[in-house]
Symmetry: C2
Subunit: 155 residues, 2 copies
DNA sequence: ACTAAAACGTACGTTGACGTCAAGTATTGT
DNA sequence: ACAATACTTGACGTCAACGTACGTTTTAGT
């Protein structure tokens, strides 16, 4: 591993968020810095980055509130901990209760994602239809076939 | 046609929005009632319903702001009017300017929808992966195949 | 004609997700 | 050592998208 600790500024540049956003996520209980310096400056690690990325994805792509996101991420974290302590001191019923809760939450999430996918798909269809109808309205001659615009940047 | 005018309460029940939402959309310039009663009560028609549905879809599914939505819907409406006045008094260049602007906007929208679709798709994949991994963590015996939960309510 | 329910306009309140300042401490490059 | 940044906590500000309350009409049902 190269260097697995990131200062606030690092995160800001890497993920395009503001310091305030990191603080706010921390207030929400969504995020803890991996550690602090003697002086109290926050230090994040790769796991933090992954967590933040997941928050942003759920927020931007699914439009979930930070509260919902907290539930999901907590469930995922609980799973990771279960995996870590595979031979844990918890009873099996205890384990399974945690597991079922997390699994249920993720199943619900999956449903919502798929509903959204299908609705977005029909939305796309309607836009495509409108677009083609609009294009046929043009002064008939469209000499150059509109090339499909390809791009994959992420501002 | 059955009856093509709807009161506020009708719309509220049909689309699950509140009166305040309708008023707000009207303030934004997003929506105009088809007409009013003598006393000033709003009356909507099928076109209104379609417009409101489109607003809700763009908002919920794409997460667009009402400002963006206004741009899109105005462009679409301009197209519809062009279609209506096919032999309009506008010059061809005039017409094409309007057309190009609308088309450009809708192409941009289409791109955004497709970007979101692909990102949601990968999000789904990651959830599915986590889910299967979580399921293998269970106390091995899951005698009943988890039946796919089907539901289509909208609270 | 009359009453209850619904709608009106106006205006102020709320909530989530941050932005923005301020005053003081930490860290870093030279 | 020291200036220039960067970070800290705290507090207040902001903006979109409504919610809510109010006193006043309008409409619908009997």
């Amino acid at each position: 591993m190269h260097k697995s600790t990131f200062t606030v500024e690092d995160v800001v540049h890497l993920l395009g968020v503001t310091p305030r956003t990191l603080h706010y996520y921390e207030e929400m209980g969504l995020l803890e810095p991996a550690c602090r310096t003697n002086g109290g400056h926050r230090l994040y690690d790769d796991a933090s980055l992954e967590r933040i990325r997941r928050v942003l994805r759920l927020k931007d792509d699914m439009g979930s509130s930070l509260q919902e996101i907290k539930l999901i991420l907590d469930a995922e974290q609980a799973l990771d901990q279960l995996r870590a302590l595979y031979r844990s001191d918890l009873s099996e019923t205890q384990r399974d209760r945690v597991l079922d809760e997390s699994i249920g939450l993720m199943e619900g999430m999956l449903e919502r994602v798929e509903r959204k996918l299908s609705r977005l798909s029909t939305l796309r269809e309607s836009i495509v239809e409108r677009l083609t109808r609009a294009r046929t309205l043009r002064t008939s001659m469209t000499p150059i076939e509109q090339p499909v615009v390809k791009q994959a940047d992420e501002s």
